[in-house]
Amino acid sequence: MTDPAATTQARTGQPADADLMIEAVGLRKEFGAFVAVDGIDVQVRRGEAFGFLGPNGAGKSSTMRMIGCVSPVSGGTLRVLGMDPDRDGARIRARLGVVPQQDSLDGELTVRDNLYIYARYFGLPRAKCRQLADELLEFANLTDRADSLVDPLSGGMKRRLTIARALVNQPEILLLDEPTTGLDPQARHVLWDRLFRLKRSGVTLVLTTHYMDEAEQLCDRLVVMDHGRIAAEGSPRALIEQWSTREVLELRFDEDDLSGHAASVEGIAERVEVIPDRLLLYVDDGEAAAAAVYQRGVRPLSSLVRRSTLEDVFLRLTGRSLVD
């Protein structure tokens, strides 16, 4: 369900632009007969926080791995920092920071040694590595755990350490694959705060997520991915304006079949979505719509008026919800 107008791509064919950090044109990734990424066009500029939003299996991680130069491109072209991952993989990786979806910390080394060893992989001198390790411990708020082993750390601490580790080479682009999946709300907020700080210091952030709140919090611009394609592109606000209404009226019922209720509220809303146990009414004025629903004699278990989110955009574009 690709909307050509939404995927506004500036295919101007201009010479290399120093601020163009990542450029993909018709990028594809195939695993045998399975197409994971089906010809996407993406441009990320310096200092941006760019997001890939989509459900599991949408092709986000495959895209990230290609950008991270650990997975060969199957088709189309990809330029990262103006270079070709196929030829200059090591040179590109020297300037990237990678926060993988699955932790690859060394559980048997101390927190400090994890940073030190990883810095050494980039060929930095020992003294510099020690200094960086201390600075990054501070950044990750892990100084008092510096000499503890990694295994007993909490999930949030491990993620912070993974992010700190990705910064040892002072990367120009930080790639984050599902950075807060599996963390509790408090740990997520701490992590977001660290990412905001990085963004302010000029690091380009590229992240994948299936949390709409994360995308809304962090991303200047994002693409909605589904089945390996880009369904829409824009800032969170622009996407909501384009694909959803200002407000949403949620009606919750204690029944399995909601089609009867959907029929009886017809005409009140611009659009009605039926999802398990709820009706979503897309309207400009939620309170007015709620009053109209009651006037028609519909008595839901509960009703709620809220603002539209990227979840609604995703539902509109794909007919499915983000987190299944």
Binding site: V70, D86, G89, A90, A94, S104, E108, I117, G123
Partner: protein, 267 residues
């Protein structure tokens, strides 16, 4: 190819394989006590128990052309230990770095490439085998089990055998889904080779039809080479053949290990 092969990358990040080696040496330092035991204490037990214990019986038969039994098995045990370290250290630790601890994934996100990992990790394994080998050789010499000064060259056999077995096992581990196949390799590969490839008795004692099998086994060439060194019976012709055969295993094994790891990690 996403490995660090671009010349410019090499310029900026000299020898990433050394960084990989450095990591595994940090791990080695952490497990040093266990390493010492596996690396030289257990072969020393073999040497004492069999060399002196069993040797007191064997020496009466004069089946070894006048060579005391302890002098016969010292180089055999030395090289067989290098094989065991090579195989073991390239089994669970390699699969673990792919699947469980995932250190290789962390490395590949940096300028380190697949070939650097293979070279760096196998070098670390070899250093552990060499450490154990040097200590064992020294203690065996003190015990009088190394009659010739040329015995120092036995360390070359330790080096070649450790690399040859580590490379082959690395290739197997990089293809393995789980660790069940490792038990098979140990039981059906390592132990028979340990017993029948010239460690404890000359392969000439094997039935005629079995002898060619022993000649194919790298350990046979390693123990022959080491024995020529410790007994002071080195001669260019046969010993160069042993070295060349082990080098062949290293080349083929190293190539297979790199190919397997690339297929596994670069998807």
């Amino acid at each position: 190819m996403v490995t660090a092969t671009a010349p410019s990358a090499r310029d900026r990040h000299p020898a990433p394989a050394l960084r990989v080696l450095e990591y595994f040496l940090v791990v080695l330092r952490r497990t040093f006590r266990g390493t010492i035991f596996g690396g030289f204490l257990s072969p020393l037990l073999y040497l004492v128990a069999l060399g002196y214990g069993l040797g007191s019986l064997v020496n009466h038969s004069n089946g070894l052309g006048g060579v005391p039994y302890v002098e016969f098995i010292a180089p055999g045990v030395l090289v067989a230990t290098a094989m065991q370290i090579g195989v073991f250290d390239a089994s669970y630790p390699v699969l673990g770095a792919i699947k469980w601890q995932r250190q290789y994934h962390a490395m590949l996100a940096t300028p380190v490439g697949v070939r650097d990992i293979v070279v760096g990790h196998i070098t670390a394994i070899t250093i552990r085998a060499l450490l154990g080998g040097v200590v064992f050789l020294f203690v065996a010499a003190l015990l009088g089990a190394i009659p010739s000064w040329t015995g120092v060259f036995a360390i070359v056999a330790v080096l070649l055998v450790a690399v040859a077995y580590a490379a082959a096992m690395f290739a197997i581990a990089a293809n393995a889904e789980g660790d069940t196949s490792f038990t098979m390799v140990f039981r059906l590969g390592v132990i028979p080779m340990f017993l029948f490839s010239g460690t404890f008795f000359p392969v000439e004692q094997l039935p005629q039809w079995l002898q060619p099998v022993a000649y194919v086994v790298p350990l046979f060439h390693g123990s022959s080479l080491a024995r020529d060194a410790t007994l002071g019976t080195m001669s260019w012709g046969p010993d160069l053949v042993h070295v060349a055969y082990l080098l062949l295993w290293i080349l083929v094994g190293g190539w297979l290990a790199t190919r397997s790891l690339r297929r596994r990690m670069v998807l």
